[in-house]
Symmetry: C2
Subunit: 743 residues, 2 copies
């Protein structure tokens, strides 16, 4: 499901602490001797990885449509289980019963000034063997409401809150109207949600060729980019409230689970109909719009003048869905730990796709299965993992992380006891390592990244990652800062893949790993996410499938074999320090901007600068930004720093002493749970992590210290102050917890 992942999360973290190059003889978590053994283990692991095998798996698992509830999904779940079994894993399929709507009716037509009926169909292409297969889900947005609406059409750009502020200035209201928004800039689900908040009765989401079509590159089948008929399926469940089965928030969707009576009562489902369309279908609608010309940054790449509307353009949107309960097949494979069977290192990737999903998710799934094969081979060779390794293939990720969420909710208590780390992956392609997750794992990840060779350039994937980072850094100062860094930073995690419940609901340390950036295209969630396209444009030699298998595999093996788990809370502390500075800067910037904007408004500068022949309604002045007390947060960080500083010593001692560290290890991997907020986040208490959450108005995009940050962004100063208190409490709790370790 993940997409434009890096683009978004990178905004989460500004600068990183400087540290000496971590590439030493010993690996964090191991002694000098065991470091050597571990390195041998990892190279034995690497030798088993086979790019051609990964390619074959991608072909196999994308041969048919396999969305949740399809025949393909069940067939592939069974096939995955059999593979894992054959590798020597104890396997089972855990089945949950979840709600999953599929379309019965999809109609979009223009009834005036001219008439036009949208195709809503991606054609079969002779260059793409699986295009046009039977049983492929048609183009739709899962969790749209049923609806049959007629009305004026208004173009709302990306459909974000700031776009509606622009509309207000132009005197345009969407109440009772149907809006058309572009894909991009936010997770798709935000667009209908904000439209609904503004009184729209329906929402069309289209792919503009500017972001997702010929403007970007040659279109399919000549190139990989979206052709005029391509459209993007996807969930519009409001999963920033909670993901998973909408009827069973917080609990596993077992047969016997108590459920919300009807999808109409689910608090994370929309009340208005939504439909995604291609630019072929969008063109006549947009072209017919009247009203003001759209602001420059609203205009796309279609060959006419973009107007906002409304005008004579009348649109009829009708969608109806089959809201059925379906089975959700999670495949679980285990290899019991020889010494610590009750400490689980969990690795996961989803197996369901919107259609054939060669890239999303099969490219990641194939790499994970290759890891499992290699581990299995070592086990057959007599090796045994110290901790238990759990390999999972999730169903129903696309509609809203259904499989992973229900499983993690179902096994929540046990996971909080046993799970050392959850390692996630999803779609994968040629390019650069993208790693996000719990910041106490920064050092471990840094060491792993420096040990993996980039298939194309033969430098480490760390070096390539850094090269891209410094080249894309804006300005001399930023470039200097990046050059000064000597470690791989971790992006903060928002949402968009199966790590969410583990990290943000249960407080389990998590990582999300993948390669990308050199396989751009427009196949995402379309029938063209096929083996043929993947092979031509994404990772022709499947070498990056191997790179992912190595990266995730090395992480899994270090987490399963280390004597002392490689958590470093100093890195977490430094990250929190940076976030706190960010929040203070954010507040000051908002204060400055508000003051100057209000001054300009009071002097009617905007009116005088605007063209009197056009409608311009000056916005209302905003309330001034008060000074907020950040001291509780700052004091909590001082306490945390003390704890983390002394913890360094404790770990050194323990390392030197050797022997059994089981108690200490358990305390280390459970530490992150201390950061869970007692009552969760405001208005969405399913999300309990004080540091990481998807943004209420960005979706996949992370908000770090979300309680505080979003209160500030929403100008709710009272809540901001409360949230500072609550986050400070959580951080102090962690500090106290870590200092207990030292006794």
């Amino acid at each position: 499901m993940r997409k434009t992942f890096t683009k978004i999360v990178i905004t989460g973290l500004f600068f990183l602490p400087l540290r000496a190059h971590a590439q030493t003889e010993t690996i964090t978590g191991f002694t000098t001797i065991t470091s050597g053994t571990q390195k041998q283990l990892e190279s034995r692991f690497d030798q088993q990885l086979d790019a051609q095998n990964i390619g074959a798996a991608i072909k196999t698992f994308s041969a048919k449509p396999h969305h949740i509830s399809s025949a393909g999904s069940k067939e592939y779940a069974t096939l995955i289980e059999n593979k894992l079994k054959s590798y020597g894993f104890d396997t089972r399929i855990e089945t949950y019963t979840v709600l999953f709507p599929t379309p019965i009716t999809r109609v979009l037509e223009m009834t005036g000034p001219t008439t036009f009926k949208a195709l809503l169909k991606e054609p079969l292409l002779k260059e793409d063997a699986t295009s046009g297969q039977q049983g492929q889900l048609p183009v739709y947005n899962a969790w749209s409401a049923d609806g049959d609406v007629k009305g004026d059409l208004v173009f709302v750009n990306y459909g974000l809150p700031q776009d509606y502020e622009e509309l207000e200035k132009l005197g345009i209201d969407v109440k009772g109207k149907i809006v058309i928004a572009k894909y991009g800039r936010s997770w798709r689900g935000i667009k209908p949600k904000v439209a609904q908040e503004h009184g729209a009765i329906g929402c069309i989401i289209y792919s503009d060729p500017k972001e997702d079509g010929y403007f970007q590159g040659d279109v399919y089948p000549k190139g990989a980019f979206k052709n005029e008929y391509g459209a993007q399926r996807g969930s519009v469940m409001d999963m920033v409230i909670y993901p998973g089965d909408p009827l069973t928030p917080g609990v596993g969707a077992t047969q016997s689970a108590t459920r919300i009576a009807s999808h109409n009562e689910a608090p994370n489902l929309l009340k208005i109909p939504v439909l995604p369309i291609s630019y072929h279908d969008a063109e006549p609608l947009l072209k017919a719009l009247e009203g003001p010309v759209a602001p420059p940054d609203w205009r796309g790449a279609l060959p006419f003048t973009y107007h906002i509307g409304p005008g004579k353009t009348k649109v009829h949107l009708k969608v109806a869905f089959d809201w059925k309960m379906v089975p959700c097949y999670d495949v679980i494979g285990m290899i019991k730990g020889s010494k610590l069977p009750d400490e689980w290192v969990i690795r996961g990737n989803h197996h369901d796709a919107w259609v054939n999903g060669a890239g999303d998710p099969v490219s990641g799934l194939a790499a994970m299965l290759e890891e499992a094969k290699s581990i299995g081979a070592m086990v057959k060779g007599g090796w045994k993992p110290t901790r238990t390794l759990v390999y999972c293939a999730w169903d129903g990720e696309e509609p809203g992380l259904l499989g992973s969420t229900e499983w993690a909710e179902d096994h929540g208590a046990e996971l909080q006891q046993k799970c050392v780390v959850y390692i996630n992956s999803d779609g994968n392609e040629r390019g650069f390592l993208e790693a996000g997750g719990s910041h106490a794992l920064t050092k471990m990840m840094d060491e792993v990244a420096k040990g993996i060779t980039d298939p194309q350039t033969k430098v480490s994937v760390y070096d390539r990652h850094k090269a891209r980072e410094v080249v894309s850094a804006a300005g001399t100062k930023a470039k200097k800062d990046v050059l000064a860094e000597t470690t791989m930073e971790l992006d903060a995690l928002g949402s968009g893949s199966d790590f969410s419940t583990f990290l943000q609901h249960l407080g389990i340390p998590a990582l999300n790993l993948g390669y990308g950036g050199e396989g751009p295209g427009g196949e995402y969630h379309s029938i063209y996410d096929s083996y043929d396209l993947y092979k031509r444009f994404k990772d022709p030699t499947f070498a990056y499938g191997v790179a992912l298998a190595q990266t995730a595999g090395h992480v899994a093996l270090r987490m399963s074999e280390s004597e002392l788990l490689p958590f470093d809370f100093t890195d977490l502390y430094k990250t929190l320090q940076n976030y706190t500075t960010e929040l203070q800067t954010l507040t000051e910037t908002m204060r400055d901007n508000t003051a100057i904007e209000n001054k300009l408004l009071s002097q009617s500068k905007y009116v005088l600068a605007s063209d009197p022949s056009k409608t311009f309604i000056a916005p209302k002045a905003k309330d001034e930004v008060p000074y907020i007390d950040f001291s509780p947060l700052q004091n909590a960080l001082v306490t945390l720093q003390k704890s983390t500083d002394s913890l360094v010593g404790v770990i050194k001692k323990a390392n030197a002493a050797g022997g059994n560290h089981d108690a200490l290890n358990k305390q280390l991997y459970q530490a992150e749970q201390q950061l869970l907020l007692k009552n969760g986040l405001p208005r969405r208490n399913w999300y309990r992590h004080a540091i990481y959450a998807p943004g209420f108005y960005t979706g996949y995009g992370v908000k770090t210290m979300p309680g505080i940050r979003e209160a500030i962004e929403q100008r709710d100063w009272k809540e901001a102050q409360e949230q500072i208190g609550l986050s400070a409490e959580a951080i102090t709790k962690l500090a106290a917890y870590l200092s207990i370790i030292m006794r």
Copy 2:
């Protein structure tokens, strides 16, 4: 001819000195008593101005094509003379003999992979009465070389030096090829010049709908923007070397003038053929290109993927011109000064157009004629100007400032003796006052702007100008800075209209005035620059014609009537101080960037960050930026400050003393001549002003302190040091000159 004037020149000047609001009882240059008389004079002047009359004049003077050498041009010159005569001016037409090429052959065709023949024609429209008239010049670039070339086509973005740096990284060379460049980002003449420097054999310039078509707004006739067939005529003479008749640099093109033997020897003419085309004609050529996909900011708004080429696309470009000598009719009207007949206040606007030119130049011309009418009426009423008023309508501005340049060169010595100021205007439309010129006139201009009411908002044109400035300022800091300002700043003048020779060759104080910003469109230099379009989209009530007449008229009357000419060299000093700071910052920034870029190159970061499946050639490291000695400039400024400080006192004293200030006045208006460089600018000694010149690689765009700035930009550190010395010399000369006044 001017276009995107503001956009470019605004970059010239960053922040402005703060000063108290200048709106006082007395007007600078007048006593408390005479200020009152002057105000009455100006309101009498205003009462005579009639919008309908201006509208009628725009209709009259755009009824026929009237480019230089056309029947229309001669007819209109005579009509202008008769009007001025009827207003009471002593008039004459001064005729020069200049070279002016018109097209005989224009062929552009694609010979492969498919065939296509460019239309090169703007169609007649029923909504536009003068479209498709007989005798309209076809679409072409004047001063293109004759040529018949065949070759591969390469897309070079805007055709600027940095675009060729990008091509080098992609391993693409234009030697022996034909380039196609977009209009925009620079004066058009820069594009073929840079193409020629890189070995191209031909240059096509097209209007992309992104900058100049449907992306901007509805196209003509529905809206004012360029339709698919519209194309932009214009000169590609390299007038940054020298403007005017290419055969007579530095001297008036009289019958008897010694001329360069042939246009082939003129140093400011191209050696390669150039042709401007519409996006209708460009589309098949661009669409057929192969090779790498163009970088994101190279892509326009045509509905396909932009490639750079080369590929199979073969192009044939053939142009031939009739290089004939033609008469150039400058209309000169004078009203002799009653007290100071040998002090001339000169007002000018060109009368020639590329086609019908309702906007460019007739909208400015009509305003100027309305001023002349009003002044004439006052003279008939018994009033007499103190100084001589000279109203001029120039011919041949479009091909390269021919009329104004030849006249100013012809009368250079006399003008340097007599001319107090040259006040220019050109195209005019609804919107905001744009004023540029000699910075010693800042205070005078500020006072005038504060006294003129904006027709739409009824605040002063100063207030509206400032409102736009603060709203468009980027960032809180910039907005605060603008809010703190209390005066109208003057933009520095580059080129693009008839002020150039007066200011940059002769050192005569000059101003360029106009309104704009609320009449955007694509008619520029096309057959659609018509009365019909102007009336609908540019200034429907002609109220801004009146505003321009008021603005330029008040300036003319203050310059002609003031007892003490309102020059304030403190403003000039402060401006030079800012330019010097800019140059130092520019050097430091370049030093920083060079250091970091070279570091990234030495660590092959760019190679590692680039996609190995695509060609990428890392650029060579640039020479480090040495430390340059700015002290000569800084010391010169200290001297200048001393002079200007004491001059303030001298002027106060003189004011108090009253009586005859003739000697002082003459010294004041001749002061700017002290800033002329003995040997002019490097490689273009026609340009002699140490402070203002059009950019060697921007064209119309100004370069302030050009000798120094361009040496730095071109990384010629030795020349930069020399130019600092020479500019310092000129500034010291001015300082000494001003201190002499005080004796």
